[in-house]
Every structure is written in structure tokens, then in C-alpha cells.
């Protein structure tokens, strides 16, 4: 029984990975809220606006997936750099989904924070 109570650092890391993964989709949709961006711009936006460490190899497949789902659309645009870039923008369905996910996220965060109040003192004490 006692063994089950000890924290397994590996599973704690996995939880964090899942959490990041799950929120990345919403973060990308939110990044596109202001207009079209290409992959690297989205990456830079995510890195500058948060401490989310985003793996580049994760964002591009995710963008493709969002396009398959019809939440974003893409277009190739010629650039001064000599090669075309693939720009993404939100579709109507994407905007709706972003709003919906944003609301769910806010509700979820508030509920969980509520549940975490008993921990608050302990979490603060732990900090050096």
C-alpha cells in the first residue's frame, strides 16, 4: 500500500507531457486568432508568450491534423526569402472550437484550483 503513495517521478513527467500536449492545440488555435501565420511564426509566438517548451517536430504534425479536422486552412505564399511558406488561418469552425476550448479550459482551471486549496499552504512551504 505504501508503495502506491510514493511519487513516481517518471509518471509525474508523463503527466506533464500529456498536459502540454493537450493544451498545445488550444494554444495554436489562439495564436492564429489575430490572423494568418506560418509554422515558424507560430512556434516563435508560442515560445515568446509562454514557458511552454514546444518541440518543433510536434507543432507541424499538429498543424496538419488541425487542417484535416477543418479547424485551420492553409495556403502557400511566395516570400522574399526565396522559398514559399505555408500560412495557416482559422476557419469558422476553428474560431468556434477555439472559443469553446477556451471556455472549457477556464472552467476546468477554476475547478481544479478550487480543489487544490488544501494543498496551497504545502506548495508554498516547499518553495525555498
Amino acid at each position: 500500500m505504501e508503495e502506491n503513495l510514493t511519487i513516481n517521478p517518471e509518471s509525474a513527467d508523463k503527466w506533464e507531457v500529456q498536459l502540454r500536449k493537450g493544451s498545445l492545440e488550444l494554444a495554436i488555435l489562439a495564436a492564429l486568432w489575430g490572423g494568418r501565420l506560418y509554422g515558424l511564426e507560430i512556434l516563435r509566438h508560442l515560445e515568446s508568450g509562454s514557458d511552454l517548451v514546444v518541440a518543433e517536430g510536434t507543432v507541424y504534425p499538429l498543424l496538419t491534423r488541425l487542417r484535416t479536422l477543418g479547424l485551420v486552412e492553409s495556403e502557400w505564399v511566395e516570400s522574399d526569402s526565396g522559398h514559399p511558406r505555408k500560412y495557416y488561418s482559422l476557419t469558422a469552425a476553428g474560431r468556434e472550437r477555439a472559443l469553446e476550448m477556451g471556455r472549457t479550459w477556464a472552467r476546468f482551471a477554476a475547478s481544479l484550483n478550487n480543489l487544490l486549496t488544501p494543498l496551497n499552504g504545502a506548495v508554498k512551504k516547499e518553495k525555498p
Partner: protein
């Protein structure tokens, strides 16, 4: 483009490997992905154009097999399950023959399955709409000759047709069954080979 030669080669090699890993995707999707990754690499490296930056960028993307796998788990599995189009399924299987020759057999069997199933469905429909012109045609003269076939076009001789309108449900059900099994065989093969390839790189 003023990239040093060996950096250019590293990029080309990476993209070629990625393309190989994605070959079971539709051609258009594959090109789209490879071109997007190429643009990403060029955007991140032309500024400095130093080899270290290229190495760093490619490392950040992950190995081609890993990157391809991320695309595949998200996109392709779903598509292979959803798209019942015989052309798409056959196209995918044909691509897999590059990995394993045994899929060539599946390709031939699937092609035959789609043909036989399709023809049976057509026969069933023809009989439904032209019951007098179409039907089973069995010529049997004792001890002399026997021929069986499907007749269409000429006025149909009911004496030579022992099952009559029963041909409709038999052909439609059998045809649909064969088409369904062929489709299942195709998607099963596509998934199986994709999985075995994933394990190889895991």
C-alpha cells in the same frame, strides 16, 4: 541560397529520408509536408548559414522516422479506416510493395476482389432493371453439352434460368460481401505494415 555544400547535403538527406518514411501517404499530402519542413529548415538556417545551426535545427525536428510517425499517427490511421475508395486503398497497397513483396499478393487479390464484387453487383442490378434481358443462362442437353453463363442483351430464355429473380439478392449480397472483405483486407494490410514499420524504429 548560400548554404555550405555539406549543410545543403544534410538538409537534402533529411528531407529525402522524411519523404521515404511518408511514402504510404497520398502523394499530395507527402509533398505538402516535405515542402513545409524544407521551408522551416531554410527559414531557420539561411540567416546564419553555419553548419552548426543546420545540425541543431534538424535535431530539434527529431529523426525523420520519428517526425513521420507523428504525422502518421495523427492523420493516416484515420484516413485508411475511413476511406473506402478502392482506388485509394489499392494505391496505398501498391506503395507498400516497396517495403514488402508479400503485399504484392494482397494488391492482386484486392484488385480481383474489387472486380469480381463490382461485376456481381452490376449483374444483380441489371437483373433487377432488365429481368427479361438479363439472367443466368444454362444450356444443358443430356449427354451432349453443358454451358453456363450470364446472358444480357438478347431476349432471355426463362427455361434455361433455374433461379430467375433470386439472382438479384444472391448477386447483390455476394457482391457486397466480397467488396467489404476486400476493403477489410486492404485496410488491415495497410495498418499491419505501418505498425510493423513503426516497431522497427521504436
Amino acid at each position: 541560397m548560400t548554404l555550405p555544400e555539406n549543410s545543403q547535403k544534410a538538409i537534402d538527406d533529411y528531407l529525402a529520408a522524411l519523404r521515404r518514411q511518408l511514402r504510404d501517404l497520398m502523394e499530395e499530402d507527402m509533398n505538402d509536408i516535405v515542402e513545409e519542413i524544407r521551408a522551416h529548415i531554410l527559414d531557420k538556417t539561411t540567416a546564419g548559414a553555419d553548419p552548426a545551426q543546420v545540425v541543431e535545427t534538424l535535431a530539434a525536428l527529431g529523426a525523420p522516422a520519428e517526425l513521420a510517425e507523428r504525422y502518421r499517427t495523427d492523420e493516416l490511421l484515420k484516413r485508411a479506416q475511413l476511406s473506402p475508395s478502392p482506388m485509394q486503398v489499392l494505391h496505398r497497397i501498391l506503395r507498400l510493395t516497396a517495403i514488402s513483396v508479400s503485399t504484392l499478393i494482397v494488391f492482386v487479390v484486392s484488385g480481383l476482389g474489387y472486380c469480381v464484387g463490382g461485376v456481381l453487383v452490376v449483374i444483380g442490378l441489371l437483373k433487377a432493371f432488365f429481368p427479361r434481358q438479363a439472367g443466368l443462362n444454362i444450356d444443358y442437353i443430356p449427354n451432349q453439352s453443358f454451358s453456363a453463363g450470364f446472358g444480357a442483351g438478347s431476349p432471355h430464355n426463362a427455361d434455361h434460368d433455374p433461379i430467375g429473380l433470386w439472382l438479384i439478392p444472391i448477386c447483390l449480397l455476394l457482391g457486397a460481401g466480397i467488396l467489404f472483405l476486400t476493403f477489410r483486407l486492404g485496410t488491415w494490410t495497410i495498418r499491419k505494415f505501418r505498425r510493423s514499420r513503426t516497431r522497427q524504429y521504436a
